[in-house]
Symmetry: C2
Subunit: 158 residues, 2 copies
DNA sequence: GATATTAATGAAAATGGTTTCTATTAACAA
DNA sequence: TTGTTAATAGAAACCATTTTCATTAATATC
């Protein structure tokens, strides 16, 4: 492993989350989280594999999938499905710089855009809806998914 | 085909949509739409296949997939993904009795519930948001997906 | 109503993203 | 430093969905 043990000293933000769950801090996990935080979102498992592979060719695709599953389950990463058959992953909010957002998906070319400019009304209504649903269905809401589908600028021209 | 040609006389509601697109009216298509409209939503391709198979064993799974794809593309059917890997299909609003709705998905047992009690505020805000997004991103919105994830009543108890 | 055209179908095979299996490696507690 | 055991890599399996191709049947035309 081409990293000194000392570099753990400046522990990354997810260090505690891992230790708290009894999970080990491994190089693949660190590298995968690194790729996710450096690259702008919507990455497929293969995208991540290729990026990781450039630096650590020994890390296999299986580990990418396993690690992503773990990260999703830990709540550090969100998994999305935009209509093509591969799943997409992106870092959850919490690490600096990433905010909660929804997606605009072009049904023609597959382009995905982030939508972060929530208006206050919107956030409040969403909370209200979630509260209402929780009560009515006795359903404990932990998350929501909002996506808008349509045609992006370029695809409209055709 | 065990149906007289006369029965087309009381043309089903989708008749015009098919003819308008130049698509043929076939028994498999009729049967599949029949299953979708008789059964309550969230059916997988296999669910539909099994239901169809009981009455018309000659209709194959391939045709189910092909027909569903066509129906989705025509806008008669919506395709969903609830986290397990199989796609789910349900009739779009338009045929009597089916209203636009969103979904509550239990991340533990996979149960899916429909949420139809939109408040006026909600519908209006959604329109407003879509209008804003269309303008800001020059994106022509044709559809949206809203799902809430969490734990259903039973799964909370455990 | 009979017939030609060609879209639609069924069965089997292929595809491809994801998961499982198993022997090996490495994180970390002692 | 060493033992325990979680984590990993690579190959094989999995399985929902798609493709291929020969056959069938819906519709337009005669």
């Amino acid at each position: 492993m081409p990293r000194g043990r000392e570099s753990w000293k400046q522990q990354p933000w997810w260090y505690g989350r891992f230790r708290g769950c009894g999970y080990r801090l491994t190089v693949p996990r660190e590298v995968i989280l690194g790729v996710l935080s450096k690259t702008s979102g919507h990455l497929s498992a293969e995208d991540i594999y290729l990026a990781v592979h450039k630096v650590y060719p020994a890390i296999g695709l299986t580990t990418i999938y396993r690690t992503l599953e773990l990260l999703v389950q830990m709540g550090l990463v969100f998994k999305f499905n935009f209509g093509d058959k591969r799943a997409r992953y992106e870092l959850a909010e919490g690490s600096k710089g990433i905010r909660h957002h929804h997606h605009l998906v072009c049904t023609h070319c597959g382009k995905v855009m982030d939508y972060t400019d929530f208006i206050d009304e919107e956030v409040e209504l969403l909370n209200q809806i979630e509260k209402g649903l929780s009560k009515k269905f006795n359903f404990k809401i932990t998350n929501h998914l909002i996506q808008f589908y349509g045609l992006c600028e370029k695809c409209q021209e055709k």
